[in-house]
C-alpha cells in the first residue's frame, strides 16, 4: 500500500488567501473525481462557508500527448488522432485539421459538394455537442430528465454519422481534398427527418427550462463575465457571444462556403449563465437553418479533389491504370510531402475558436502541431467569474462555459 503523504498547505499557500492559512476558510478539493467537473478537472476551492473565495483549476489529468503523437504519423494517419481531442466535436476537429493540411500543401480544389457536406455534418455536430452540453447543464442543476431527452435526440445525429462514416463518434470522415466517400442515398432523408423533428424538441426543452422559475433563479445574474475580461482571456464561442461580442468565425472569417448561407449569430449582452444558456439554445435554431439551406442546394458531383498527389485514386481506377496504382502505393506507404512552412487555420467549434497550427518540414510527417483549443482558454476565465458565488453556482457556471477535458489536455 502506498504511503499516504501528509499534504501541507505550504505547497500552495501562494495561491490562496491569508485566511486559509489560519483555518478561517476551508480548502476543498473538487475533482478530479467529481460528478460535475465534466471529466477529470480538479478544482482547488477555498470556501468561506459555501461561498467560493478562490478557485484554482488544475488540469492535466487527461493528458494524452496527442499533439506529440501526431508528429510521428503521416498527414493522413494523424487525422484519426484529432477525433480523440474534443470528443464532442469530432467532425469539427477533422475539419480544422484537413483545412490546415489543405492550406499547407496548397490543395485548393475541394469540390463544392464536399464543402456542402462538410458544412451539414459540422453543423449537425454542433447540435450534437450543444445537446450534450444542455443535458449535462440540466443534470448539474439536477434537472435529470433534460439530460435523457437530449441524449435521445443526439442519438439521431450519431445515427446519421454512422450512416456516412461507419462510426458514431470517431468519424474521420473529412479527408484532405474532400471527404472519405460520397454519402449514401438515405442520408438526405435522415437529415430531413431530423430537421422535421428537432425544432419541436428544442421548444420542449425551452418549456422545461427557459421560463421555469427555479431554473431562472439558479442562473440569472450568476457568473457574470465582463466583455473586457472575456477578451483579455481570449474567451471565444458562445461564452464570448453571451458577453456581447459579435465574433463568430463562420461570419467574420468564413470558410467552407459559410458565406453563402443565411444565418444569424445569436448575441446576448448580459454575460451571465442565463445568457450563455440562451445563446446556445438560439444556436440550435441557427444551425438548423444552415443545414436546411446546405441540404437544399447540395449539388451532385465529385466529393474529392482530382489532385492525385494528395488524394488517393478511386478503387475502380487501380485495376486499370498503372499511374493510379503508383499513386495509391505512394500515398499509403510513404504519404505525401508537405512544404517547409507553417500555417494556422481556425474553425468555429461549438465551444469557440478551434485553431490548428501546422508546421511542415518537407517530409510526409508534420514537424509540429499545436492546437488552440477553446476549452483551454475558456476555462482560464473560470476563477475570475466564480468568486463570491456558492458552490452550487460554481457547478452551474462551470457547466455554462462548456468545457471538454479532452480538448484541454491534449
Amino acid at each position: 500500500m502506498a504511503q499516504l503523504e501528509e499534504v501541507s498547505i505550504e505547497k500552495f499557500k501562494h495561491l490562496v488567501s491569508e485566511r486559509a492559512l489560519t483555518g478561517e476558510t476551508m480548502l476543498l478539493n473538487m475533482g478530479p473525481q467529481h460528478p460535475s467537473t465534466h471529466g477529470v478537472l480538479r478544482l482547488l476551492l477555498e470556501l468561506d462557508g459555501e461561498i467560493v473565495v478562490n478557485c484554482i483549476p488544475d488540469i492535466g489529468y487527461l493528458h494524452t500527448g496527442i499533439e506529440k503523437n501526431m508528429e510521428a504519423k503521416t498527414y493522413q494517419k494523424a487525422e484519426v488522432m484529432t477525433d480523440r481531442l474534443d470528443y464532442m466535436n469530432t467532425m469539427g476537429n477533422n475539419l480544422a485539421y484537413v483545412m490546415a493540411v489543405e492550406k499547407l500543401v496548397g490543395l485548393d480544389d475541394v469540390p463544392v459538394r464536399a464543402q456542402a457536406l462538410r458544412v451539414i455534418l459540422v453543423e449537425l455536430q454542433r447540435i450534437a455537442s450543444h445537446l450534450v452540453w444542455l443535458g449535462a447543464f440540466g443534470l448539474d442543476l439536477a434537472a435529470m430528465s433534460v439530460f435523457l431527452y437530449c441524449f435521445r435526440d443526439r442519438e439521431l445525429i450519431l445515427d446519421i454519422f454512422e450512416l456516412v462514416s461507419g462510426q458514431r463518434m470517431m468519424t474521420t470522415y473529412f479527408r484532405p481534398g474532400g471527404v472519405w466517400r460520397d454519402v449514401p442515398v438515405e442520408f438526405e432523408k435522415a437529415v430531413r427527418d431530423f430537421l422535421k423533428i428537432f425544432p419541436r424538441r428544442v421548444d420542449e426543452y425551452e418549456k422545461l427550462m427557459t421560463k421555469n422559475p427555479l431554473f431562472v433563479d439558479r442562473l440569472v445574474g450568476i457568473g457574470h463575465l465582463d466583455k473586457d475580461v472575456a477578451l483579455q482571456y481570449g474567451v471565444t464561442g458562445p461564452t464570448l457571444r453571451a458577453s456581447g461580442v459579435d465574433w463568430d468565425l463562420r461570419k467574420s472569417r468564413p470558410y467552407c462556403g459559410y458565406e453563402q448561407y443565411d444565418f444569424n449569430v445569436p448575441i446576448r449582452t448580459e454575460g451571465d449563465t442565463y445568457a450563455r444558456y440562451l445563446v446556445r439554445i438560439d444556436e440550435f435554431r441557427e444551425s438548423l437553418k444552415i443545414i436546411e439551406q446546405a441540404l437544399n442546394k447540395l449539388p451532385m458531383g465529385p466529393v474529392r479533389s482530382e489532385n492525385r498527389k494528395f488524394v488517393p485514386p478511386p478503387r475502380s481506377e487501380i485495376g486499370t491504370s498503372m499511374e493510379a496504382l503508383i499513386h495509391h502505393f505512394k500515398l499509403w506507404t510513404e504519404g505525401f510531402p508537405a512544404p517547409k512552412a507553417s500555417v494556422y487555420s481556425a474553425v468555429e467549434s461549438p465551444r469557440g475558436e478551434l485553431g490548428m497550427y501546422l508546421e511542415g518540414d518537407g517530409g510526409p510527417k508534420p514537424h509540429r502541431i499545436h492546437l488552440r483549443t477553446p476549452s483551454f482558454d475558456n476555462l482560464a476565465v473560470l476563477p475570475e467569474i466564480v468568486k463570491g458565488h456558492f458552490v452550487a453556482d460554481l457547478v452551474a457556471i462551470l457547466a455554462s462555459i462548456d468545457i471538454v477535458l479532452g480538448d484541454i489536455d491534449r
Binding site: 460528478p35 435523457l148 431527452y149 427555479l214 439558479r218
Partner: protein
Amino acid sequence: MDWTFWLEVVIKGFVLCLILLTGFAYLTWYERRALARMQVRVGPNRAGPQGLLQPIADAVKLIFKEEFTPGRVYKVIFVLAPVLTVVPSLILAAVVPLGTSFNLFGREINLHVANINVGVLYIMSIASISVYGIVLAGWSSNNKYAMLGGIRSSAQMISYELALGLSIAAAIILSGLANPDGGSMNLIEIVNAQKGMWFVVIQPVGALIFWIATLAEVNRAPFDMPEAEQELTAGFHSEYSGMKFALFFMAEYQKMIVISMIMATLFFGGYLGPGVDKFPLLGPVYLFLKVFVLLFFMIWVRATWPRIRYDRLMAFGWKILLPLSLVVVFITATGIVFVDKYHSQLYFWSIPVLSIFSAMVAVMFIYRDLRRKSHGRV
C-alpha cells in the same frame, strides 16, 4: 390489560414494520419505473416479471457489499448515525391510523398501533429527530463534502419545520369544525372529522404548504440539498457503503411513505372512502391508494424540476412559506369562529377562497422578485 393486549400491539408493530420495509423496497422499484417512463427509458425490467424482483436483488447486493469505514472517522457516531436516521422513520408510522377496527376471534382489533391523543405532536417531535442522524453522519465522516451536507440539512430542517407545524395546525383547527369539543390532535379524530369533506377542499393552501415542507423534510427534489450529488457528490452519506448506506436510503424512502400517509390522513381523509364503514378492511386499501398517488407527485417533481439553491431555499422557507402559513392559520381560525357564531355557509367558503387569494399574492411576490432580479428578462 392482559397479555393478549401486549401480544396484539407487538404483532401490529411487527406487521407495520414489515409493511414499511417492503414498501421501501417497492417504492424504489416504483420510483425507478415511473421516473424511467417520464425520461423515455425503460427502467429495471430484468429481474423477475416487470423487474419486480429488482428490490430483492438490490437488497442482497447491499447486504453482501463490503462495509468500508474510512480512516479517522469518529467510529461510534459513524455507526450510530444511520440507526438514528432509520429508527424515527419506522416508529413515525405508529400513530397513523390505517383503518377503523374489525373483529378477529371475537376480539376487536384496531387498525393502528398507538392511539395517542397528541398524535400530531408525536409526529412533529419524532420526524425532526432523524435530522440528527444526518448531521452526525456528516460530522463524523471526516469528509468536507459530508460536513457541508450535514450543515445544509440542519439549516433546511429549521427553515421548514415551522411551516410544516403551522400547516398541521390548520388541519387541527379544522378538525374542530364538526366537533363541539373543539379541534383534536388525535389523528383518528382528525380523520373522522373529514367524513363530510376532506380538509384539502377547505384548506388547499395548507395542504400545499404541508406538501412542500415535507419535500424539504424528507430531502426530496427539488430540496435534496444535503445529498446534492452534483455539488456535494452525495453529501452526508458520501463515506457510507454497504448496509450502512442502505439504512440511509431506507430511512429516506420510508419517510417518504410515512409522510405521505400522514398527509393523506391530515388532508385527504386518511382511510376514509366509500364502503369503509361496512368493510373496515377497505380502509388500508384506500389509504394505500392515496399514498400511491401522493408518492407519484413526489416522483414527478423529481423528474421535472431543477434543484433550488441552498440560500434561496432558506429564503423561500422563511420569507414565503412561513408568513403564508401564518396567514393560512389565521384565516382558518377566524373562519371557524365565524362559522360557529353565525352558522353561515358564506364564512365557511371564505376560508378556501381567502387562502387561495393569499397564496396568489405570495406567488406574485416571488414572480416580482424574479423579474426584478433578472431586470425584466423573464
